[in-house]
């Protein structure tokens, strides 16, 4: 009886040792060297794996970054500047300074501003509706309101406002990964500079139709009149295809354009509320 026990233990022990030795040599032979910095960098990254940086997940980003040995063109939108700075510190490099960005929904066609002209009964997806026809309202450029952007957001930063039927961005949660920009078949969402104290001025319309047609379908459409471009002291506004666009790199947030816009298509957000009448008059005089 004892013999059997002893021999079993010995045989298993010998097998174990043999396997260990074999595995050791095999491991040595097929060793893949991985830069230890890759996993260190990966640990610093936020592990959102959103792909917003253009690489497949955080590991891919870390690999590419360490391999490049230069931080030019590398930026994690989710972590933002603090994370990039700590990564730079770890690698002994200098992080590129980048303005924090945020997704902006460029359509203000709520139910009041843009009345419904028909009812859509197909699959409740913007991509499907956009492939079929113009949409439930007279505007063929604006938001379809079925929330493809909300579906793709991994950070819970987008939500549909049931009152307006438009998506709203939670600026604190938005990481500017760009998923919603890709998902929107109408190209309404844009990544723009978050701005000083989150203050932003943008044209909340993408309607390229001529003024009369645009205004007919939506109260707050950009009619491409060009008053804003004339009012802008910094040359930040360009009119193209009957549509104004404010270049956020040039915009100095003076809000002269907001005052002159006849339809109210230009929106200024997060500015302190000032008694309206006075500023308006001043702004008009300044032109």
């Amino acid at each position: 009886m004892e013999d059997v026990l002893l021999s079993t233990v010995l045989v298993l022990l010998a097998l174990g040792v043999l396997a260990a030795v074999l595995l050791y040599f095999v491991a040595q032979k097929f060793k893949v060297y991985e830069d230890p910095r890759i996993s260190e960098v990966e640990e610093l990254l936020p592990s959102a794996n959103c792909g917003g940086c253009g690489y497949p997940g955080c590991k891919g980003f870390a690999e590419a970054l360490v391999k490049a040995g230069d931080m030019k063109g590398f930026f994690c939108n989710v972590g933002g500047q603090p994370v990039m700075d700590s990564v730079a510190e770890k690698l002994g490099l200098v992080a590129e300074a980048k303005e924090p960005m945020v997704a902006v929904v460029r359509c203000a066609g709520s139910c009041e501003n843009r009345p419904k002209t028909n009812t859509y009964e197909g699959v409740k997806k913007c991509t499907v509706a956009a492939a079929l026809y113009a949409g439930e309202t007279g505007c063929s450029f604006g938001c379809l309101g079925m929330g493809d952007c909300v579906d793709v957001c991994q950070f819970d930063a987008l939500s549909m406002n049931p009152l307006t039927g438009l998506p709203e961005v939670d600026q604190d949660k938005c990481t500017a990964c760009g998923k919603c920009v890709e998902a929107c078949p109408k190209g309404i969402i844009e990544l723009r500079k978050k701005g000083v104290k989150n203050r932003r001025v943008f044209v909340s319309c993408v309607n390229k139709a001529k003024g009369a047609l645009a205004k007919k379908s939506c109260e707050v459409a950009c009619i491409g009149c060009g008053l804003c471009a004339k009012a802008c002291p910094f040359g930040a506004i360009e009119i193209k295809n009957n549509l104004a666009y404010i270049d956020y790199t040039k915009c100095k947030l003076c809000r002269k354009c907001v005052a002159v816009c006849p339809t109210g298509a230009i929106q200024a957000v997060n500015f302190p509320i000032i008694p309206k009448k006075e500023t308006n008059e001043n702004d008009v005089k300044a032109i």
């Binding site: 002209t117 009964e121 079929l132 047609l213």
Partner: protein, 442 residues
Amino acid sequence: MLKRFKKGGIHPHDNKITRAKAIEVMPLPKVAVISMAQHIGAPASPVVKRGDIVKVGQLIGQAKGFISANIHSSVSGTVKSVGDAVNSMGLLVPSVTITVDGDEWLETIDRSEEIVEKFDLSPKEIVSIVASTGIVGLGGATFPSNVKHSIPEGKTAKALVVNGVECEPYLTADHRLMLEHGREIVVAIKIICHAIGVEKAYIGIENNKLDAIESMTKASADTPIIEVVPLRVQYPQGSEKQLIEATMGAEVPSGALPIQVGAVVQNIGTMYAIYQAVQKHKPLFERVVTVTGKSVSEPKNLLTRVGSPVNDMIEYCGGVPEGTAKVIDGGPMMGRSMANLSGVINKGSSGILMMPETETPANDASSCIRCGKCVQVCPMGLEPYLLNVLADKRNFEECIEHSAMDCIECGSCSFTCPAHIRLLDNIRIAKREVGKILRNRK
């Protein structure tokens, strides 16, 4: 046993309410909005400007590129504006708007009723006439006909297949043309056979149109090259590939064009337009449109000028009946619900169908129960339930493997699905995305 295509297909009720209604001429519109994008391919570029006086049949849009078509004025009057106009889908399309004043045709157009049988033209001349008169496939796809007639090098055409199937329920435009203009269609078949160099032409007609089979057989009695093929009713027999299989017995390979098996397919309406273009020098600016629906007070087949507002036509047929939920551009299977009734008739509009609420219930889709009905009815042998899921998960690479591009968008899968899943809607997205991927690969 009558011929039909082999795989799949469905039997929607044909509801051909207007089959016995002779073609009527629709009164002229007050303002015609003529779109520059009435065909597949690049939109034509307008050659008139605001204030110009135009006559009926005058060229107003020049084809831009190989796959494109000329656009001619359908009315006479003054050009009101050149620019974007909202079409029946609510989208902006480049258009020429003309205020109608009288009805003055170009002198070159032969307006007599007399049938001109003789033609003395070379194949090249015929193709160039078809191109210059802006003829496109009137079955709905609006593919420029001259491109079909220009046989690519290394390929030879064996037969012309004329599509008189009209498998879409409700529509009767082609049916009426076969009854009323059979002889003209036969002349057109002779012309196109000469142009593409074939000695054989089939006219496929489903046997729910016995009078049309009879009429065409009689009209083509003295023309041995024409064979009228009665077909067993099965949707979508009017699809190009299915019709070739039913008439010629040849299967077009996946991803190939009909010319691969030596077939050139043309619709009845297109043939009639070709007759008018070649023998009467009349460009394509009017077509037969079926205005129909079960509750419509006076359903009609109307010979309508391109650019006439849909609203006018509906009014002419007794107005939109109460309880109408959808007004569809085309037939109930492949047509699309219109978003804007002040949109206009295009070359490809074969019908205006008004469907009451009771017939268009918006059932909510439930889960797929794996019954396999969609696989059974798919005439292309695809797996719609699978493509639907793949498209939903945006796995377009795998859609390529499952031949998403072979889908002919006939809608048989959505029609048959007991769970009311809108399979085709998702597959259409897959096709679009797959198309993008394939183009990028090149």
